[in-house]
Symmetry: C2
Subunit: 341 residues, 2 copies
């Protein structure tokens, strides 16, 4: 059964577990520091397809295929799939997943999608509504640049604060399981909007949402950063990370010694020319479904927070002079001590 912890946090009795996971990334991500962590990488941005959008769909499909293969499951063993992406009308997900025949729960959380999909998936497992589900998302540098900024062919210069959208997908299979990392609790965030209007500075737009959700979680649970191995954010990047520290400092919470941002981890800042760091739904998804899961497997992690962050902008809203609202959803992922080896 689910139960409320404090005002916003939802706890689970039944330990919805991550039974399997897989990550698929692009060439640039494969050349980064996490190179050896990913299950599969592509060298061709088109992934053998006719468009970047179709390539993105194939990233999701491939990640799901690998995750299912690892535990010998097939699509028909899955009750529900929770998916979304950055593309208009989430076509990365709907076109990628239409052949699977799995009841589809479409989400839109921009880059917060990985924690949003996993949070909902956990509740389905915990409540008895489903036995096995998939949470998945993706992003693709080329489809995102074309949609949110400029077609790549323009050769536009990127601003110093701009982040680099990760080409990648991460998929989790959740169910009841033993000896596996499980979702202990979740906190859904409210939309925060501090009036940032620069679509090339999304870390700044998302930091207030990250701070808000994190502070709510600490208040609800009576815990502090010291209680966790690591606190991951999704894709705040270098600038957003600094702003997060400033905002949480104001609440008396110092994250510095415990915090990592997937957007800062996935590329080499000094040599990969990514400016503000990595971003996109696929950023936190591919890091969660690789590096982070591996640290649970090798016994390094027992108890972490994972919070993807989303900037809910649209090119239309930006052209209409609107600011960029942000949202962040949090997962507390644990593994039981006696069972972790």
């Amino acid at each position: 059964m689910a139960y409320k912890i404090g005002k916003r946090t939802i706890g689970f009795d039944n330990k919805p577990s991550i039974l399997s996971y897989a990550s698929v990334v692009g060439k640039k991500e494969h050349e980064g520091p996490l190179s050896q962590e990913f299950d599969y990488h592509i060298n061709d941005s088109f992934f053998g397809e006719e468009s970047f959008e179709k390539a993105e769909s194939k990233l999701q499909k491939t990640a799901i295929g690998i995750a299912l293969d690892k535990i010998g499951l097939k699509a028909e063993d899955i009750d529900n799939i929770f998916a979304g992406d950055l593309l208009n009308q989430c076509i990365g997900s709907s076109f990628g997943l239409r052949e699977l025949g799995i009841p589809f729960i479409g989400l839109y959380g921009a880059c917060s999608t990985m924690s949003l999909s996993t949070a909902l998936a956990s509740l389905f497992i915990d409540s008895g509504a489903a036995e096995k589900v998939i949470a998945v998302t993706s992003s693709h540098f080329c489809s995102a640049e074309r949609q949110y900024r400029f077609p790549l062919d323009y050769g536009s210069q990127r601003t110093p604060t701009a982040q680099w959208t990760v080409t990648g997908s991460g998929a989790l299979v959740l169910g009841k399981g033993k000896n596996k990392p499980y979702i202990n609790s979740i906190t859904f965030g409210e939309i925060e909007d501090y009036g940032i209007t620069d679509a090339n500075n999304m870390g700044a737009a998302m930091a207030p949402a990250a701070a808000s959700t994190l502070i709510h979680y600490f208040e609800d649970t009576g815990t502090t950063p010291q209680d966790y191995d690591v606190i991951y954010t999704g894709d705040l990047g270098y600038i957003g990370t600094q702003l997060l520290y400033e905002l949480t400092d104001e609440k008396g919470v110092d994250l510095r010694c415990k915090h990592s941002d997937c957007g800062n981890m996935i590329f080499r800042r000094e040599s990969q020319d990514v400016h503000g760091g990595g971003s996109g739904c696929g950023c936190s998804a591919s890091v969660l479904a690789s590096f982070i899961m591996h640290r649970f497997e090798d016994g390094n992690f027992k108890n972490i927070l994972f919070m993807s962050t989303g900037a809910l902008l649209s090119p239309t809203s930006t052209m209409q002079g609107e600011s960029i609202p942000g949202v962040a959803h949090l997962l507390n992922i644990k593994i039981d001590d006696e069972l972790s080896n």
Copy 2:
């Protein structure tokens, strides 16, 4: 607790109830057959805002405000809000709801959003994850035409099969309650794609998804159309409705005497020049949160099926020659006999 019924249907023990509801529609909808059912209507497509998109956001905000007022609740009494819409990046929802301070679960189900949001909201109430939640969605004729087809200023002719996107929003407040209609069970649909490529014939694209979900539901529950007062679909329109009948006939299920489509109900076919009928997230949402809820209140309905249907197309996918996948999610809404008056 939630439990699985058959393969795809999820049943609830705790009767997640519709505590309040509200609908807001545009001028044309107010001139239609359901005129007296809606809580509020606007005569100005801009709703006093600077753009159609901002007007659409205001539709959602207004519907939520009325629904909360009816039962004396405030935004801070609500644990979660489930919302989505047709606009790129769902800005109708994110910009409409950012001031409420309610933890936000963003969805993308195109016109299936009202049953998607209500289904997830029900599980949150049933499982104990939340005490009170809101499910809401919207559409706006002018923002949808501009995004999916042509800006209105072009004065384009509409094809005979084209449907008219409803300007409207419907909002439900769900929680535990007595003497109220409740969500007895839900069935999430898989994505169905029969290869329809005409973005002006979305009823045809959605009918296979509607048939699939409905047949799964009847198989799971061992019921037939005769067991329900009415079976509502969201916005198949006149053409999609005929196709639904043909597809369910093939499975030996005759819907004709029990079925209504919100898209066929909201406008007068003979005089309102809507061609294929109404459509859009706001179509099934505003009909559910008005006419259908009123029939539960006046004792006419005891047990219905409500299934919004979504066409998961994007202008980008259409330009890339893709077909239109559809999805449909189903709610079984009941009221207990002895408590209904």
